[in-house]
Amino acid sequence: MPLTLKDFQKIKNFSVEVKKNILEMAFAAGASSSHFGGALSIVEIISVLYSHKMKIDKSDPNSADRDRFILSKGHACLAYYAALCEVGFIKKKELKTFEKDDSNLLGHPVVNRKLGIDFSNGSLGMGLSLGIGVATAIKKNKKNNNVFVVLGDGECNEGSVWEAAMAAPNLNLENLYAIIDNNNFQQTGSNEEIMNTNSLFEKWASFGWHTIEVDGHDIEKFYKVIEDVSKSSKPKAIIAKTIKGKGFSFSENNNEWHHAVLSKSLYEKAKKELYSL
């Protein structure tokens, strides 16, 4: 079923709030800087999932019936914490503690089930394996929840990603979704410059995943794809074409924003751009 206008607006509003939260946290991080660019490229993805698609119990982050989310590209946690805040699991004032001493919210997620952070991530290449374990457990427990794992395209350099990619179809995990944030950049350059992954689509498809490409910033299209692929009996690989740093004029497609300091002036500029939406 396509999105109603009401639902579309709900997701759109959610995504704007997520961006606002990202901005606040990035600014609060100050000189510690933050992984701004890679968080912005997944805003719409995480908004569709957390505000609409995923089965969540807002009163219980540990509900046995919840869909699961794993941020394998853990450095995009600004978007993750922002979304968890909008859902109500993390308080706005806790967002301000981002990367501070003793904080629950570090530069990579640290497991904290009270806050809805299900796993510790950050060392790339590990999240999909976790997803396989969780998806397998869900099926063994005869539940029909889904597991959504967000990976980076640079992350697909890691061999462990392909160990998991090979295993999932063999284990018949139709409830497992791998969403690859294909923003074409990694830490020190473009994918093409550093380690060209060539066709991610062909790779995932050849491993036996139901594979599809989509514009990762188009809420309607992304939602439609997620709904359409759910019919497949294979695990799903959704290659989301995205822009690193999407949403602000200074950061879009600018790899300086992989990990950078958001100065006061840029913060003010970003606020103007965002609030004028």
Binding site: S120, M126, L128, S129, I132, A137, S160, M166
Partner: protein, 321 residues
């Protein structure tokens, strides 16, 4: 499991790996949420029968150890009681970072069983030996390390580990015809060493297949009027500090014997604590001297690295003041 003389003999003949296979089969009968995960080593780990009887409690992830640990952690996070196993170098080292992140850091409980650790597969070369696992895993917070002295202790260690709420690495050493150290049933407690022999001159701490060699060495030293205590330090982490303290109080020399690099393993763990004790006696650390020798049979390599009972005796005599 029925622990009687007949079974102890059978388990000794078939070795610790096959014994592990039998033990996990028995555990699956009582533990509903048990899951055993391997990397294409079912036969080597004695699991052929297990996977026939309990296909729903078994997953073979192929030769992909990093994935193994992640999948195990995912299952554990959802309430399953998970045992992973493959050859020790691949179990402990190939996926070391996954162990750090998933087990140490995130705290997902998993029982890892490293088979054929030490020098048992020396004729295949050091890629299939493991003399580093204890040292490497000791530095990851949150992992208990157990090295069973014989096949019966393998059964006891596995049972204790599966029933514990901690993550544990079980290091299986020895080959088939694994000598018997424990001739009858006994009380096994994780973290509590077992004094197998009492003596007043020196204390020999050992673990794994070396325990038998140390008991033989102690007999020979006795004939030379050197009275030895032999302590089975099956749990290397957390180490039994009381046992070390007691040994320092009563012995003229502490000896540690391990089928492992002398750097980082049992000997190092003992000396780390011993260093805090005032006026403690000298420690003789017997093990592999930080090198990869040429390969060969298990017996050949034990000789080469000074781990046979005769070589242990020689080393002790040389170092006793």
């Amino acid at each position: 499991m029925i622990i009687n003389e007949r079974n102890i003999k059978i388990w000794s003949t078939i070795g610790s790996r096959a014994t592990f296979g039998i033990a996990v089969l028995e555990l699956a009968k009582e533990i509903d949420n048990l899951m055993v995960l391997t990397c294409d080593v079912s036969t080597s780990a004695g699991l052929d029968r297990y996977r026939k009887f309990y296909p729903d409690k078994y997953i073979d992830l192929g030769i992909a150890e990093q994935n193994l640990i992640g999948v195990a952690a995912g299952l554990s996070s959802e309430g399953f009681n998970v045992v992973t196993t493959t050859f020790a170098p691949f179990q402990a080292i190939r996926c070391c970072e996954q162990i750090k992140v998933n087990i140490g850091y995130m705290g997902q409980k998993i029982c890892m069983v490293g088979i054929a650790s030490g020098l048992a597969l020396g004729n295949l070369g050091y890629t299939h030996c493991c003399i580093e696992d204890v040292g490497i895993l000791r530095t990851i917070p949150g992992i208990t390390i157990i090295s069973p002295s014989d096949s019966l202790e393998t059964v006891k260690a596995l049972e204790a580990s599966v029933k514990s709420d901690k993550s544990i690495y079980i290091r299986l050493t020895g080959s088939s015809n694994n000598p018997i150290v424990n001739h009858k049933d006994y009380s096994f407690e994780i973290g509590k060493s077992i004094e197998l022999r009492d003596g007043k001159d020196i204390t020999i701490f050992c673990a794994g297949a070396m325990v038998y060699n140390c008991l033989e060495a102690a007999k020979k030293l006795d004939e030379k009027n050197i009275s030895c205590s032999v302590v089975n330090m099956h749990t290397i982490k957390p180490i039994d500090k009381d046992a070390i303290k007691k040994a320092c109080e009563k012995s003229n020399m502490i000896v540690s014997v391990e089928e492992h690099n002398i750097i980082g393993g049992l000997g190092s763990a003992i000396s780390e604590y011993k260093a805090t004790i005032n006026n403690s006696p000298k420690q003789l650390t017997i093990g592999i001297n930080d090198n990869y020798s040429k390969g060969g049979s298990y017996k050949f390599l034990q000789e080469k690295h000074g781990l046979t009972s005769d070589k242990i005796v020689e080393s002790v005599l040389k170092n006793l003041n």
